[in-house]
Amino acid sequence: MAARERLARLRDAVDGDDEPGLSLAVLAGAVAAFVSLPLVGLLVRASNYGLGHLVGLLTETGSLDVLVNSFVLVVWVTLGCVLVGVPLAVLTVQTDLPGRRAWTVVAALPLVVPSYIGAFTFVSAFGPQGDLADALAPLGVERIPAIYGLHGTALVLILFTYPYVFLTTRAALLSFDGTLVEAARTLNHSRWEAFERVTVPQILPGVTAGALLAALYALSDFGTPSIMRYEVFTQQIYVAQRSLGVPEGYPALLSLQLLAVVAVVLALESRIGSDANASYVSRGSRQPGQITLGAWKWPALAFCAGIAVLSLGVPLGVLAWWFEQAGAAVFEFEPAVAWNSLKVAVAAAVAASLLALPVAGYAARSTSLFSTLADRLTYVGYAVPGVVVGLALLYLSTEFAQSLYKTVPLLVFAYVVRFLPQAVGTVRSSVLQVDPKLTEAARTLGRSPFGAFRKVTLPLIAPGVAAGAALVFLTTMKELPATLMLSPIGFETLVSYIWLVRGAGSYGAAAIPALVLVGVSALSMVVILAQERYNG
């Protein structure tokens, strides 16, 4: 390679051809730096303790137990999600299951139940002194299996995260080239052999992608293990940060360990993602012949129904039961609580959308390394569990910005850090659909860069920006760990209110807020689906 060529490549790495203006690059870089602040703060704090101290903590505290517990939970949840999600996907895509369409919707629906609300309802139904225990007591049933600990945590997480596996597997099955199966059949393979040798390798990447999502969720989820009293990273970070007699730096150490584990999962995911495409989306348009269930129809239906009862029937039934039982007490919560939730969610949505514009615009228009880096940095919130974001912001504010400590702006900042990726994702895909020639035309007609953006680009990407804002709004409404850690005194939101009355055992008062949050989650699903159609 000639030196000149190499030089040219290097220049391209810094600024590709057709680079957008420098100002956009600076803006995008600033946003990326801004949202990486908490993570930097956490690392600074951890490095202040010194490596020796942290290594000492590793051995003298129970952090290894926590690591083992987290690992066990992730394995259970991942396996469980595969065992539930894959059969459901196969049944609804490739067989003659009665009511396939309806079962497809039902199987995806548990995603709209925030897992901590699921956990509450399970504790309420199956816990000691729970409604079920009360119902069974006259029948002479003394003890039902304990819901607390690993079993309950894994059960709840499986029930509310298996749809990830279900959906990715379903996508793989739908884009699956049926002629291959037929080829195998003509080569004298039995139906089962054909499934084993052709279908499985084809859908495996889809299954794995979903399984890794479920694993990431199980690692990051704070609410369920906290309610189920199972000592994993998220639960321990929260408790250690506010417990007596915890050695200095322990929450930070746990956070670093958790981030390391998350990094491993993400690395796996990116490897799967990159070499998956070959088989994941082989554009075979023909579906293989349907599998006739015959007598297996009944157990298959029972399986689908059983999962639906557990993952939808129990939570919604229990919420309805709370509502019913509480009588007048359901209206106990003050409207101010809902109002607070709305306020911070709107603020987070507006802020995230504004910050997403330069990053997404730059990433969509530029091919430089810097733009990729800026884009990737904004995905910090996607990778870092909420409880770690909360802890990092507590550190950051107590050390560098005491006037911001436990204020609403800091809380909104936490939401922006967590949910900016959603906004960037939707905005970027809509910017990509705008033909650059349009803005060029506007420039030649004498518009300034900003003027061209306002007159041409913005109207075209408005639906994408709105969808991103809506997503941030809805996910903020139900965010739990950062809300608990950073809310100012007297600043009660729907989420913190549910957490509070649950602690007091007056479930009835939690009925309406919990139902509202389920509705909010359902809406965010609608937004995502509409987006997919829009980008279709």
């Binding site: 000691p128 002194q129 007490a329 107590t398 005491q402 400590y405 005194i489 007297g490 055992g505």
Partner: protein, 387 residues
């Protein structure tokens, strides 16, 4: 002491439906509190609004002590860290005080008390104190905050209101006491048959197969932690093993120990906090139930909810005045009749058959040591009580 119980049995029977369970579930005292209060002029809560409802309460004399009317007005904004919070009951009291004064607005954040104590000390050390008042359900967390010098001294106006020196220091004032107790079924035991020592319950044959307890329960862990402090690990292990030989019945909560176990006669007696029997009476006034207290051992442990003013409070005077309001006649009546607590001031009697807190004989113990629960859990696991 046991004589006292037989006398008070009748008073107990008169206690038909003490405070209604809505009060226990923490009915947020939104204006007028559902009609039991007689509004008064304007919207200012009256004594009736502070009081619980039920026959027992209607027979009570007007509370003595310092009425809110005789205290300076609360005026301004106040932030409260609420440790524990007794199922929302404390926020009800805060709401009542907010209603009482037009110019006063208190807001609270509730979290588990030991966690909050730690948060307060962290905030004090990083100079980001958030709250003016720390109001906690247990004295241990108050002492921890005070020992880390995160509190200001209370005024003598406040501290002098507390009747019993054991429940007040310069840094914090007790506002509502609670004790461990031995509730028993009156069809199976008479008052004189309940021993004054928790050791006798673990060793005497007559208590075999008749004890109920809730070993997974936080209050029970506090009691065992107290025993560890008083007699050490080995002595506690011995007591636990003796208890296991008595074949006690397990319940999921101390309330269930009393409401199912003792009331239905499944067991004859139990080890619980003193207010669970009172809760049962609220629902079933004629339950065959009474309660006794041991003396000078872990089972006679008395703990107290209390309040302190935080160093860094925006308005320390207002915070101190708020603590005095918690010790007012009306607030103490509220805590005594709605939460069945032992009042902390002269002139307000505990509900029904309860002795006054001065009549109890708690062990001499540093309540702060009760936060050291982890070794207790470990011990309970070792002995095989918890898995």
């Amino acid at each position: 002491m046991s004589e006292r119980h037989s006398q008070t049995r009748r008073r107990f029977l008169a206690a038909a439906g003490v405070a209604s369970t809505t009060a226990l579930a923490g009915c947020t005292g939104i204006l007028g509190d559902g009609g039991s209060g007689s509004g008064g002029d304007g919207d200012q809560p009256t004594l009736a609004d502070f009081r619980g409802s039920g026959e027992l309460v209607s027979g009570r004399p007007a509370p003595g002590g310092t009425s809110i009317e005789d205290l300076p007005d609360l005026d301004g904004e106040l932030s409260i860290y609420l440790g524990g919070g007794e199922g929302g009951r404390y926020t009800t009291l805060i709401d009542l005080l907010n209603q009482y004064y037009d110019g006063f607005e208190a807001s609270a954040q509730t979290q588990p008390s030991s966690q909050l104590a730690n948060v307060i000390v962290d905030e004090y050390e990083s100079n980001t104190t958030q709250a003016d008042v720390f109001w906690s359900v247990d004295a241990g967390s108050l002492a921890y905050v005070a020992d880390n010098s995160a509190t200001l001294d209370l005024s003598s106006d406040a501290t002098s209101m507390v009747a019993d020196d054991r429940f007040v220091t310069d840094q914090w004032a007790g506002v509502a006491g609670r004790s461990r107790a031995i509730p028993y079924n009156t069809n199976q035991f008479s008052a004189s048959e309940i021993p004054a020592s928790v050791d006798a319950i673990a060793t005497e044959d007559r208590f075999t197969d008749t004890i109920g307890w809730a070993p997974t329960y936080g209050a029970f862990h506090g009691f065992v932690t107290a025993m560890r402090q008083l007699r050490g690990e080995d002595g506690t292990r011995e007591w636990l093993n003796n208890m296991l030989d008595q074949n006690p019945a397990r319940y999921d909560s101390e309330y269930a120990t009393v409401s199912q176990g003792i009331t239905n006669g499944e067991v004859g007696l139990g080890l619980t906090n003193h207010y669970y029997p009172m809760l049962v009476f609220a629902n079933t006034p004629d339950a065959p139930l009474d309660l006794a207290f041991t003396e000078n051992d872990a089972s006679a442990l008395v703990n107290t909810a209390g309040a302190s003013v935080l160093d860094g409070a925006a308005d320390p005077e207002l915070a101190d005045l708020f603590v005095r309001h918690l010790l007012s006649a009306e607030a103490q009546e509220f805590l005594a009749t709605r939460g069945f607590a032992f009042p902390m001031i002269e002139g307000v009697e505990p509900v029904g058959p309860l002795p006054t807190i001065e009549e109890l004989s708690p062990p001499d113990l540093d309540l702060q040591a009760l936060s050291d629960v982890q070794p207790t859990i470990q011990l309970l696991e070792d002995v095989g009580i918890l898995s």
